[in-house]
Protein backbone atom coordinates (compact mmCIF):
# COMPACT_ATOMS: atom_id res chain seq x y z
CA UNK A 1 0.00 0.00 0.00
CA UNK A 2 1.36 3.41 -0.88
CA UNK A 3 0.15 6.83 0.15
CA UNK A 4 -1.62 8.91 -2.49
CA UNK A 5 0.17 12.04 -3.70
CA UNK A 6 -0.75 15.19 -1.78
CA UNK A 7 -1.66 18.20 -3.91
CA UNK A 8 -2.60 21.73 -2.81
CA UNK A 9 -4.40 23.92 -5.35
CA UNK A 10 -6.78 26.72 -4.32
CA UNK A 11 -10.40 25.83 -5.09
CA UNK A 12 -11.15 29.28 -6.48
CA UNK A 13 -9.25 32.20 -7.99
CA UNK A 14 -9.87 35.41 -9.92
CA UNK A 15 -9.02 35.49 -13.63
CA UNK A 16 -5.39 36.51 -14.11
CA UNK A 17 -4.32 35.41 -10.62
CA UNK A 18 -1.01 33.66 -10.14
CA UNK A 19 -1.68 30.78 -7.75
CA UNK A 20 0.71 28.60 -5.76
CA UNK A 21 0.64 24.84 -6.24
CA UNK A 22 2.30 22.37 -3.87
CA UNK A 23 2.79 18.64 -4.37
CA UNK A 24 4.23 15.93 -2.15
CA UNK A 25 4.54 12.29 -3.20
CA UNK A 26 5.68 9.22 -1.30
CA UNK A 27 8.85 7.75 -2.88
CA UNK A 28 12.14 6.47 -1.49
CA UNK A 29 14.16 8.13 -4.27
CA UNK A 30 16.83 5.42 -4.09
CA UNK A 31 19.86 7.33 -5.33
CA UNK A 32 21.98 4.41 -6.58
CA UNK A 33 24.75 5.65 -4.25
CA UNK A 34 23.80 3.66 -1.17
CA UNK A 35 25.23 0.27 -0.27
CA UNK A 36 23.29 -2.68 1.09
CA UNK A 37 24.59 -3.02 4.66
CA UNK A 38 24.47 -6.82 4.52
CA UNK A 39 25.92 -7.57 1.07
CA UNK A 40 28.03 -4.46 0.48
CA UNK A 41 26.53 -4.13 -3.02
CA UNK A 42 25.19 -0.87 -4.37
CA UNK A 43 21.39 -0.62 -4.19
CA UNK A 44 20.19 0.09 -7.74
CA UNK A 45 18.92 3.57 -8.50
CA UNK A 46 15.11 3.97 -8.52
CA UNK A 47 13.76 7.49 -8.54
CA UNK A 48 10.98 9.65 -9.94
CA UNK A 49 12.85 11.31 -12.83
CA UNK A 50 10.13 13.51 -14.29
CA UNK A 51 7.20 15.62 -13.18
CA UNK A 52 4.73 17.48 -15.34
CA UNK A 53 1.77 19.75 -14.63
CA UNK A 54 -0.80 20.73 -17.27
CA UNK A 55 -3.82 23.01 -17.12
CA UNK A 56 -6.63 22.20 -19.56
CA UNK A 57 -4.10 20.34 -21.72
CA UNK A 58 -1.36 23.00 -21.77
CA UNK A 59 1.94 22.56 -19.94
CA UNK A 60 2.27 24.90 -16.96
CA UNK A 61 5.42 23.60 -15.32
CA UNK A 62 7.60 20.51 -15.34
CA UNK A 63 10.94 19.24 -14.16
CA UNK A 64 13.68 16.73 -14.85
CA UNK A 65 14.67 15.16 -11.56
CA UNK A 66 18.01 13.65 -10.54
CA UNK A 67 18.89 11.37 -7.61
CA UNK A 68 19.92 14.39 -5.51
CA UNK A 69 16.26 15.15 -4.80
CA UNK A 70 15.21 14.02 -1.30
CA UNK A 71 12.94 11.11 -0.48
CA UNK A 72 9.24 11.99 -0.75
CA UNK A 73 9.75 14.70 -3.39
CA UNK A 74 8.18 18.07 -2.63
CA UNK A 75 7.56 20.63 -5.36
CA UNK A 76 6.14 24.11 -5.11
CA UNK A 77 5.53 26.28 -8.17
CA UNK A 78 3.16 28.86 -9.66
CA UNK A 79 0.46 28.93 -12.31
CA UNK A 80 -1.42 31.79 -13.94
CA UNK A 81 -5.12 31.03 -14.34
CA UNK A 82 -7.48 32.79 -16.74
CA UNK A 83 -10.36 30.28 -16.84
CA UNK A 84 -11.90 27.47 -14.82
CA UNK A 85 -10.51 24.04 -15.50
CA UNK A 86 -8.45 21.08 -14.40
CA UNK A 87 -4.83 20.72 -13.41
CA UNK A 88 -3.33 17.32 -14.16
CA UNK A 89 -0.16 16.08 -12.54
CA UNK A 90 2.08 13.21 -13.71
CA UNK A 91 5.08 11.74 -11.90
CA UNK A 92 7.23 9.32 -13.94
CA UNK A 93 9.31 6.61 -12.27
CA UNK A 94 12.62 5.15 -13.55
CA UNK A 95 10.76 1.89 -14.26
CA UNK A 96 8.33 3.74 -16.56
CA UNK A 97 5.32 3.61 -14.25
CA UNK A 98 3.43 6.86 -13.78
CA UNK A 99 1.32 8.30 -10.99
CA UNK A 100 -1.41 10.65 -12.12
CA UNK A 101 -3.72 12.99 -10.27
CA UNK A 102 -5.90 16.00 -11.01
CA UNK A 103 -7.45 19.03 -9.26
CA UNK A 104 -10.17 21.38 -10.39
CA UNK A 105 -10.24 25.13 -9.94
CA UNK A 106 -13.09 27.59 -10.41
CA UNK A 107 -11.98 30.92 -11.86
CA UNK A 108 -14.29 33.92 -11.81
Amino acid sequence: MAAKPRIKVPKTAAAGDVITIKTLISHKMESGQRKDKKTGNLIPRKIINKFNCEFNGNTVFGCDIDPAISANPFLEFSAKVTESGTFTFVWTDDDGTTTEASKDITVS
Partner: protein, 151 residues
Protein backbone atom coordinates in the same frame (compact mmCIF):
# COMPACT_ATOMS: atom_id res chain seq x y z
CA UNK B 1 29.11 -5.27 19.64
CA UNK B 2 32.29 -5.97 17.81
CA UNK B 3 34.30 -2.81 17.36
CA UNK B 4 38.08 -2.68 17.10
CA UNK B 5 39.94 -0.71 19.72
CA UNK B 6 41.40 1.64 17.15
CA UNK B 7 38.02 2.35 15.60
CA UNK B 8 36.61 3.02 19.03
CA UNK B 9 39.36 5.49 19.83
CA UNK B 10 39.05 7.16 16.47
CA UNK B 11 35.29 7.43 16.76
CA UNK B 12 35.45 8.64 20.34
CA UNK B 13 37.81 11.42 19.42
CA UNK B 14 35.71 12.24 16.39
CA UNK B 15 32.61 12.32 18.53
CA UNK B 16 34.34 14.62 20.96
CA UNK B 17 34.79 17.34 18.40
CA UNK B 18 31.97 19.74 17.83
CA UNK B 19 31.77 21.23 14.40
CA UNK B 20 31.12 20.69 10.77
CA UNK B 21 32.08 17.41 9.16
CA UNK B 22 31.84 16.04 5.66
CA UNK B 23 29.41 13.21 4.98
CA UNK B 24 30.54 9.83 3.79
CA UNK B 25 29.61 9.11 0.22
CA UNK B 26 30.18 5.94 -1.71
CA UNK B 27 31.66 7.74 -4.72
CA UNK B 28 34.16 10.53 -4.99
CA UNK B 29 32.50 13.89 -5.27
CA UNK B 30 31.97 15.74 -8.51
CA UNK B 31 34.28 18.68 -9.01
CA UNK B 32 33.67 22.31 -9.84
CA UNK B 33 34.92 21.37 -13.34
CA UNK B 34 32.04 18.91 -13.85
CA UNK B 35 29.66 21.66 -12.80
CA UNK B 36 31.25 24.20 -15.15
CA UNK B 37 30.95 21.72 -18.02
CA UNK B 38 27.23 21.19 -17.36
CA UNK B 39 26.65 24.94 -17.13
CA UNK B 40 28.44 25.47 -20.45
CA UNK B 41 26.27 22.83 -22.14
CA UNK B 42 23.12 24.34 -20.64
CA UNK B 43 24.07 27.92 -21.55
CA UNK B 44 25.01 27.20 -25.17
CA UNK B 45 26.49 30.34 -26.72
CA UNK B 46 25.57 32.64 -23.85
CA UNK B 47 27.91 33.41 -21.01
CA UNK B 48 26.21 33.27 -17.61
CA UNK B 49 25.76 36.65 -15.91
CA UNK B 50 24.90 37.51 -12.33
CA UNK B 51 21.51 38.96 -11.40
CA UNK B 52 17.83 38.25 -12.20
CA UNK B 53 17.96 34.80 -10.55
CA UNK B 54 17.84 34.27 -6.80
CA UNK B 55 18.69 30.97 -5.14
CA UNK B 56 17.53 30.52 -1.55
CA UNK B 57 19.11 27.84 0.63
CA UNK B 58 19.89 27.57 4.35
CA UNK B 59 23.37 28.62 5.48
CA UNK B 60 23.57 25.49 7.59
CA UNK B 61 21.56 22.39 6.74
CA UNK B 62 20.39 20.42 9.75
CA UNK B 63 20.65 17.21 7.76
CA UNK B 64 22.16 16.84 4.30
CA UNK B 65 19.43 14.40 3.28
CA UNK B 66 16.71 17.06 3.25
CA UNK B 67 17.78 20.60 2.37
CA UNK B 68 15.06 23.04 1.29
CA UNK B 69 15.94 25.20 -1.73
CA UNK B 70 14.01 27.74 -3.78
CA UNK B 71 14.70 29.60 -7.02
CA UNK B 72 13.02 32.70 -8.40
CA UNK B 73 13.78 34.63 -11.56
CA UNK B 74 12.72 38.15 -12.54
CA UNK B 75 10.76 37.94 -15.77
CA UNK B 76 7.46 39.26 -17.20
CA UNK B 77 6.61 35.64 -18.16
CA UNK B 78 4.83 36.66 -21.38
CA UNK B 79 4.76 34.61 -24.61
CA UNK B 80 7.69 36.68 -25.93
CA UNK B 81 9.75 37.02 -22.80
CA UNK B 82 9.85 34.25 -20.23
CA UNK B 83 12.16 31.94 -18.30
CA UNK B 84 12.58 28.62 -20.12
CA UNK B 85 14.34 26.65 -17.44
CA UNK B 86 16.41 26.72 -14.28
CA UNK B 87 19.06 24.06 -13.69
CA UNK B 88 20.25 23.39 -10.13
CA UNK B 89 23.67 21.83 -9.54
CA UNK B 90 25.60 20.73 -6.45
CA UNK B 91 29.36 20.97 -6.93
CA UNK B 92 30.33 18.49 -4.24
CA UNK B 93 27.77 15.71 -4.73
CA UNK B 94 28.69 12.36 -6.37
CA UNK B 95 26.82 13.69 -9.43
CA UNK B 96 26.30 17.46 -9.71
CA UNK B 97 22.84 17.33 -11.34
CA UNK B 98 19.99 18.03 -8.91
CA UNK B 99 16.93 19.17 -10.85
CA UNK B 100 15.92 21.25 -13.87
CA UNK B 101 12.72 23.26 -13.58
CA UNK B 102 10.99 23.92 -16.92
CA UNK B 103 8.71 26.95 -16.97
CA UNK B 104 6.18 28.26 -19.50
CA UNK B 105 4.36 31.60 -19.76
CA UNK B 106 1.48 29.78 -17.99
CA UNK B 107 3.72 29.49 -14.91
CA UNK B 108 2.91 33.18 -14.29
CA UNK B 109 5.95 33.63 -12.05
CA UNK B 110 9.25 31.79 -12.54
CA UNK B 111 9.69 30.32 -9.08
CA UNK B 112 9.99 26.82 -7.66
CA UNK B 113 10.97 25.09 -4.43
CA UNK B 114 12.00 21.56 -3.55
CA UNK B 115 14.17 19.60 -1.09
CA UNK B 116 17.55 18.20 -2.04
CA UNK B 117 20.40 16.03 -0.83
CA UNK B 118 23.87 17.40 -0.11
CA UNK B 119 26.69 14.95 0.54
CA UNK B 120 28.87 17.56 2.27
CA UNK B 121 29.45 21.28 2.68
CA UNK B 122 29.54 22.76 -0.82
CA UNK B 123 28.26 25.30 -3.33
CA UNK B 124 24.81 24.95 -4.82
CA UNK B 125 24.46 26.68 -8.18
CA UNK B 126 21.28 27.72 -10.02
CA UNK B 127 21.36 28.73 -13.68
CA UNK B 128 18.41 30.31 -15.50
CA UNK B 129 17.95 30.29 -19.26
CA UNK B 130 15.63 32.97 -20.69
CA UNK B 131 13.57 32.67 -23.86
CA UNK B 132 15.98 35.08 -25.61
CA UNK B 133 18.88 32.75 -24.86
CA UNK B 134 20.49 34.85 -22.11
CA UNK B 135 21.68 33.03 -19.01
CA UNK B 136 21.87 34.11 -15.37
CA UNK B 137 23.34 32.37 -12.35
CA UNK B 138 23.43 32.49 -8.55
CA UNK B 139 25.40 30.45 -6.01
CA UNK B 140 24.93 29.63 -2.32
CA UNK B 141 27.32 27.85 -0.03
CA UNK B 142 25.54 25.41 2.28
CA UNK B 143 27.25 23.93 5.32
CA UNK B 144 26.25 20.35 6.01
CA UNK B 145 26.66 19.10 9.55
CA UNK B 146 26.88 15.56 10.76
CA UNK B 147 24.95 14.77 13.89
CA UNK B 148 26.49 13.33 17.00
CA UNK B 149 23.99 10.52 17.06
CA UNK B 150 24.84 7.98 14.41
CA UNK B 151 25.07 10.61 11.68
Amino acid sequence: MNISRRATIRNSIGLALSGVFAAHVSRVAATADDTAKLIAEFAGDASPAEGKIKLTAPEIAENGNTVPIAVSVESPMTDDDYVESVMVLAEGNPNPEVITFNFTPLSGIARASTRMRLAKTQNVVAVAKMSDGSVFTDTRNVKVTIGGCGG
